[in-house]
């Protein structure tokens, strides 16, 4: 694939934006509230599958199916969160890893969800299922509008790019405002020292649950948008490693700076997809089938090196290092 093909980079842009949403979800739960959620990909998966299932099997209108998908993600957040809210961060980390593996496992094995074949096989192996039906006219409408402005550049992928990034930008503004509000102050204090916060009359458990719910909404939204973008998805699209890509975005940009998220997302998109084009020596020694593994290996290396050398990220403030506890 030609590195200069703009359509490819538009697609990368969409993916980066969706990962950015996932990173925002992590930001709310982890950078703001101090809750390490290592299974966020499950929220995406659950929302995506719920939406697809409702449209395909229950004929629910796409808008409502999407909303319910997000609600399902929130429910999962609460299910995992309510017992863990009392406990230390360790437990939430484990519970969420386990939970996300479970979701992936169930979605691979339940015939309801089309098994390993994924959303295509939802009506059974011989029937092609589609839930993106009612999304098409919407996105095409946007494409038509955009074409009047920017001309031929506007493809449906481009429209998706605009939708995703507009959503991300809006949410960043909202959550920044939230962060600077008294609510954000309490959240920060809970992250720092729960007991101090409690001694001042703050209901720690309630705040943590709120963070989980908000994170669930954002993760679910990311999942819904992802499903709409790629159309056909299967459980393998929701590997646990996705959560760590989101962490990587946070780390790249700086874990305590909300505006660094889009920067981290773009960097990540370039890093991840750009490695596709590493056709030069010595990497050309590695055949293309293995490139995928090389890519993941590089991600792992970057993760380790970043954590070691610059844990506050590119733009973070060293004094406010979120990770030191």
């Amino acid at each position: 694939m030609d590195a200069l093909n703009p359509a490819f980079w538009v697609f990368v842009g969409v993916v980066a934006g969706i990962y950015g949403l996932l990173a925002l979800a992590l930001y709310v739960q982890f950078s703001m509230a101090g809750l390490p959620n290592f299974g966020h990909v499950a929220f995406m998966a659950l929302a995506a599958y719920t939406m697809a299932l409702l449209v395909i099997r229950a004929d629910v209108a796409l808008v409502w199916a999407g909303a319910l998908g997000i609600a399902a993600a929130v429910a999962l957040g609460l299910l995992l969160g309510i017992p863990s809210v009392r406990l230390r961060a360790n437990y939430l980390a484990i519970a969420t890893v386990a939970g996300s593996e479970m979701i992936r496992y169930l979605s691979t094995n339940l015939s309801l969800t089309g098994g390993a074949v994924g959303s295509v096989g939802m009506l059974g192996p011989t029937h092609f299922a589609t839930y993106t039906g009612s999304w098409q006219p919407f996105i095409e409408g946007i494409t038509a509008m955009l074409r009047r402005v920017v001309g031929g550049v506007a493809t449906t992928d481009f429209s998706m790019f605009c939708v995703v990034w507009a959503t991300l930008a809006l949410l960043l503004v909202l959550f920044r405002r939230l962060e600077k509000s008294p609510w954000g102050r309490v959240m920060k204090s809970i992250r720092e020292d729960e007991e101090a916060a409690a001694s001042l009359g703050k209901n720690v458990d309630a705040y943590k649950l709120q963070a989980l719910v908000l994170g669930g909404i954002l993760g679910g939204l990311a999942g819904v948008l992802w499903a709409l973008e790629i159309g056909v998805f299967s459980p393998d699209d929701f590997q646990p490693t996705l959560t760590f890509y989101a962490y990587l975005i946070l780390i790249l940009g700086g874990m305590n700076r909300i505006w660094a998220i889009p920067i981290g997302a773009v960097l990540f998109g370039v890093l991840y997809s750009g490695t596709r084009f590493l056709g030069f020596f010595p990497l050309s020694l590695v055949d293309s089938g293995e490139r995928a593994y090389l890519r993941l290996l590089i991600v792992g290396v970057v993760l380790v090196v970043l954590m070691a050398v610059r844990p506050e990220g590119m733009f973070g403030k060293r004094e406010e290092l979120v990770l030191e506890k």
Partner: protein, 301 residues
């Protein structure tokens, strides 16, 4: 028509399988819990350490045609060496970064290990030079040779490690530090130096466990250990983080519960492919009702 003696012998079979699997989980979980308790690191690469062990054993057994026992020992040694190496190079210098940072580092390490194995060893399933189809009839149960040998290994390894923990100075020290590091420091124990030994033990157990797991499963690929990571974490929580005997007990219990849950008389039995779900449910129930695990002490706030 339920054949009663058939159900009975099936149960025995399941119990045997459960104990063998449980022993593997116990050994891996023991290493993980010691590391967690002492180093305060949730080692998300622990599964990949196991995978490495499995592949080293493969190298020794198949490629170099050595005896499987030698291969298993080789696996343990190699993994221990890697664990210690990573500890010195990466984890110890970066200790002050905090639990979550270190955990993320272990995630990265796991990614590197796993994908390096994919690149070097390939993604095709491998198996040891073992007769996979023979069946040995032991009157009450029938086992494949692989299962028999794994059972023997478990029978040797688990009590040996338990004895080491219970009676040697090193073992007692490890347990004390894993259980309550601050208290141990006050008591004058060199909590830093212990880290080296912990990683040797944890690494060796992971390597051995990986080889055993690969043997029991029959075929394996670089995702071997990663696939059981959350079960290992469940074992750690089940036994109480930092509680060595708890992890041993917890592993056996979890293995048993998962296998026996498929026994038909129990509400029709859980279909085999849903066994991990049982593990997950155990974890969730634990977190809700007894987060300190089977043997851990309830912590005050």
């Amino acid at each position: 028509m339920v054949n009663e003696s058939h159900m009975g012998s099936l149960l025995l079979q399941l119990i045997y399988n459960g104990l063998v699997e449980g022993a593997i989980l116990a050994l891996a979980g023991l290493g993980a819990t010691l590391v967690w308790g002492i180093q305060r690191v949730a080692n998300f690469a622990h599964g990949d350490y196991m995978t490495l062990g499995a592949y080293v054993a493969f190298l020794l057994d198949v490629t170099w045609s050595l005896n499987l026992v030698v291969a298993a020992i080789g696996a343990a040694v190699a993994t221990a060496a890697l664990a210690v190496g990573l500890h010195f190079v990466l984890l110890r210098p970066l200790r002050g970064r905090g639990l979550v940072a270190l955990s993320l580092i272990t995630v990265g390490l796991g990614l590197v290990l796993r994908n390096a194995l994919f690149m070097v060893a390939g993604s095709q399933p491998r198996q040891y030079a073992f007769n996979q189809t023979a069946v040995i009839d032991l009157r009450f149960i029938r086992v494949a040779p692989a299962e028999l040998w794994t059972g023997v290994a478990a029978l040797v390894a688990v009590p040996a490690i338990a004895a080491m923990l219970a009676w040697t100075t090193l073992g007692k020290t490890m347990r004390a530090v894993a259980d309550n590091r601050d208290l141990a420091e006050i008591a004058g124990i060199d909590t830093d130096g212990i880290g080296l030994y912990v990683w040797i033990v944890a690494g060796a157990l992971a390597g051995l466990g990986g080889a055993m797991l690969a043997l029991v499963q029959g075929t394996f690929d670089p995702n071997l250990g990663f696939n059981v990571l959350f079960l290992i974490l469940t074992v750690v929580v089940l036994g109480g983080i930092g509680n060595a005997f708890g992890a041993l007990l917890g592993g056996l219990v979890l293995g048993l519960v998962m296998e026996v849950s498929t026994w038909p008389p129990l509400f029709g039995g859980v279909p085999t492919q849903y066994q991990p779900v049982v593990g997950f449910v155990v974890l969730i129930l634990l977190l809700m009702f007894r987060p300190q695990g089977l043997l851990g002490k309830a912590r005050v706030l």
